[in-house]
Point group: C2
């Protein structure tokens, strides 16, 4: 998931993935059959984890979460948004999904990507109880987050005040956490 998130489906090589996993390259291919099937497994797992995080928010009554951040943690939308940002801890999760989302032309990845995206749409509408317009707004903010993460905008937050302004009004109280995650990222990347 990390490697696909960093380099995309085409850009990531099975050799890189094998190195990150500490195994040999042929073993990666042998285990999953093909690179495409491995990517689909990654996408499926990423989606499962995301929806599981949403489910935990929906099933948990509000007010007892550890952090009392800003960006109204009181509303359901605010709590789901916080859970979404928390998925950044799973390195490559949101980015692997995003890479799948921009490959809709691919006959198999495109179908899986559309199904996955609509699965999230239906969850937010039917389980979280959002209106279509509310879902759309929520997804829009999510896609903006994905984009800024993919751009590694956090790398410029200290040198460009405009970047700081944008990230500040996007992540608000969670910005420091995002900073820490990005710092841990570069430290743990094997090059």
């Amino acid at each position: 998931m990390q490697v696909f998130g960093d380099y995309g489906y085409v850009g990531a090589t099975t050799a890189q993935i094998a190195r990150a996993a500490g195994v040999s390259q042929p073993y990666v291919v042998q285990t999953f059959g093909t690179k495409e099937q491995l990517f689909l497994a990654v996408i499926e797992q990423a989606l499962d984890r995301l929806l599981a995080a949403f489910a935990e928010v929906v099933e948990t009554p509000p007010g007892d979460s550890g952090d009392t951040d800003s960006s109204d943690e009181s509303t359901l939308a605010g709590r789901l948004g916080a859970a979404y940002v928390d998925q950044l801890e799973d390195r490559g999760l949101l980015l692997s999904l995003m890479h799948a989302f921009v490959l809709g032309r691919d006959p198999v990845i495109g179908r899986v990507g559309r199904e996955g995206f609509m699965k999230v749409y239906r969850y937010l509408r039917d389980v979280a109880g959002f209106s279509p317009q509310e879902v759309r707004g929520f997804l829009a903010e999510g896609m903006l987050i994905n984009t800024m993460v993919g751009l590694r905008m956090i790398d410029d937050v200290d040198t460009d005040p405009d970047v700081e302004q944008l990230l500040e009004c996007s992540f608000e109280g969670k910005l420091d956490k995002v900073r820490a995650l990005a710092a841990a990222d570069v430290a743990g990347s094997p090059g």
Copy 2:
């Protein structure tokens, strides 16, 4: 721009680009020096066209545009949003940008992508006069549009009522136009 939009930076081959341009593959490489420089040229041009479209909206007084769509064409944000959707006519423009945006790890594409994204941010804030929060909301809707276009969500609009609901409340009056553009897309793709 079309080829990069369809297959991404890594996925698009110089041979595909050459075929789409009606020239030989080595000529593409020879003309732009390298595939990376060609992609950067595409990104630069895409950004120029997008900002030029925004500039035309800002400089044109409201009320005299040909189409009187919904999604309040009266406000500046609504007119800029319509101009953004109009960029779908430039096939691959928004998608090429999106592909660059998810490759922020790349040392050169990442830097250009961040600069380009922030150029749009500054334009909307300083020229269009948006507040940072307004810019963020506008960009979020743009990234959602990019994602749905990248997913080719329009392919499922007739078979999945939920997709129709999502696209309807996203594009509103412009949905028919988007449909027509997608139909022209598949017709004009050389495979």
